[in-house]
Amino acid sequence: MAPILQIKDLQIDVKMDEEVLNVVKNINLEIGKREIYGIVGESGSGKSLTSLAIMGLLASPPLQVSKGEIFFEEDKDLLKLSSRELRKIRGNKISMIFQEPMSALDPLFTIEDQLMESLKFHTKLSKKEMKRACVKIIEKVGIPRPEQIMKEYPHQLSGGMRQRIMIAIAMLCNPKLLIADEPTTALDVTIQAQILDLMKELRDDFETSILMITHDLGVIAETCQRVAVMYAGEIVEETDVVSLFHRPKHPYTKGLLKSMVGDRSDALYSIPGKVPSVEQMPKGCRFVTRCPEAMDICEKVSPDDLEVADNHRCKCWLYQKEMANHV
């Protein structure tokens, strides 16, 4: 089946004063129809930037896509579209929800205004029809008494409700792809469970693909089919969710799984050190400074992103030993 979204060799740079620094590099991934695809990584790993690049919402300047292609529905390279064409897709065929439901809605407009706005951009419905569509979608995301909610302002709603409204706005135009950037991070666990549940339900009803961006491996395990692990702006490992959790290849993934507190073992594990800053990116493998299995080669040359098992890519010299010896 043809993928709904295909990212090829995406690279994002940041222009600081005189120099140009790389923040995201070599991103390759495919999201299939009805698939929930996860990107997991710590803060600063570049996962949010990647999602914003898909939407064409990178803050430019200073950020810019310097290389790569993003194909949507096979043939449309989002990076080559005019801003006008891109606007037609945004909020319509691709929509997005964000981490902070507190601040992601304009505080000065009613829920109705903010829902209708989306429809105004993308449909030619009459006001009445629009309203009907809004009511329908609000019911769909599980909010009782939609008529009343629509008259309220964001601050009158709880965090969970707001995130539901965000989802409603995103689903209004029946998108092909929903990008969810840390959709539950700011929510309590019981509410998180509600929202994740809702998203899966919507995926089934609307046949929408979801790109789930999170730092929480638990969320990934709960919802995703495929996962990409990002570290310092690169995808270090990419595979289906079961392989990732049961047969992780990359030392970073392993560390991450081990440091999931509480659940697995009693001994606390943590990856030593911290993510390198953009200015001090290592020349070779970006994880080399924290890797327990680092080799000489790792410091000097960046490994390739190779298929190390079926449908399992990993970017690590450990699996390219022969090659390493040659270099």
Partner: protein
């Protein structure tokens, strides 16, 4: 909301009381008095004491205050010691002018400052931004009276133009009135524009950094909608604060411009009265200005809650 407004109005009482005491005492402390300014070089002792008696200035100070305050509370601000005219009526008719001047200059400053502020914010740190900031700062940097004098000079010499003399109110002859007001309002407006521009620029920048702007863009909104429907409305609150303060300041701060453009406004009234030591006029007018100032602030606060549903006053 109603309770809030009522509470604010109640809080006005001590403030106004304080102002009344303050202005009353300060007028007593100013050297010179109304009698000597009236009689000037013709003063004789008996004329002095006669006038003092007439004006009630021979009474103990607290009695003078109570008498004045008693009148004010019953809506009687007394009469001017110089012209014998009832003060309140005069204040109100002059307030009309000052208010018009204030609003007109505020309006001029907005139509200059807000678009410039938006442009500067959108083109942050480009030469356009610097250009706009420089222009808006120029307005602030020139003392009002210098700009006003220059304007009068240039217009009269180069265009043989002078605004019609002899103030008429907006309701009598609107066109003539506007011609009189445009120049002074322009001078005041340019001075205000800088601060408004600056605030517009920074609050638009601030708003554009907010998460919900990203949401709106993600919905597929064009930049125009992002800026004008959302960013501007959100940025309006800090801008409004500045505007509210400026309007308040202008109410008593147009003295110089009123004088240069020969406009019989409230500022002139107070200035003349201070010079003549016409106590009840100064006291009445200052109390009035302060009340309006406080009410404008209240109005601005109420306006906030109208603009921003998050702000609810209880």
């Amino acid at each position: 909301m109603f309770a809030y407004i009522l509470r604010r109005l109640l809080m006005l009482i001590p403030v106004l009381f304080g102002i009344s005491v303050f202005i009353f005492l300060i007028m007593k402390m100013i050297p010179g008095d109304v009698v000597s300014t009236i009689l000037g070089t013709e003063a004789t002792d008996e004329a002095r004491s006669q006038l003092e008696k007439q004006f009630g200035l021979n009474l103990p100070i607290y009695q003078q205050y109570l008498q004045w305050m008693g009148g004010v509370l019953t809506g009687d601000f007394g009469v001017s010691l110089r012209t014998g005219k009832p003060i309140l009526g005069d204040i109100i008719s002059r307030f009309g002018l000052t208010l018009e001047l204030t609003l007109l200059s505020a309006f001029i400053s907005w139509i200059i400052a807000i678009p410039l502020g938006i442009v500067a914010a959108l083109k942050r740190n480009t030469s356009t931004d610097f250009g706009v900031r420089i222009i808006s700062l120029l307005g602030v940097s020139v003392p009002n009276f210098a700009l006003a004098t220059l304007l009068l000079l240039v217009l009269s010499l180069a265009f043989s133009y002078y605004p019609p003399a002899g103030y008429v109110s907006l309701f009598e002859e609107p066109m003539k009135n506007l011609q009189m007001m445009v120049l002074p309002a322009f001078v005041l407006g340019t001075a205000m524009a800088g601060a408004v521009m600056r605030m517009t620029r920074s609050s638009i920048l601030e708003v554009l950094r907010q998460d919900f702007i990203r949401t709106i863009r993600a919905k597929g909104a064009s930049e125009r909608i992002v800026i004008f429907n959302h960013a501007l409305k959100n940025a309006m609150i800090p801008i409004l604060t500045i505007i509210g303060m400026q309007i308040g300041t202008l109410l008593g701060g147009t003295v110089i411009i009123e004088q240069i453009f020969s406009l019989p406004g409230l500022g002139q009234m107070v200035l003349t009265a201070i010079n003549q030591r016409d106590y009840p006029v100064v006291q009445g007018a200052v109390l009035f200005i302060a009340t309006v100032f406080v009410l404008i602030n209240l109005f601005v606060d109420v306006l906030y809650s109208y603009l921003d549903p998050r702000i609810t006053y209880k």
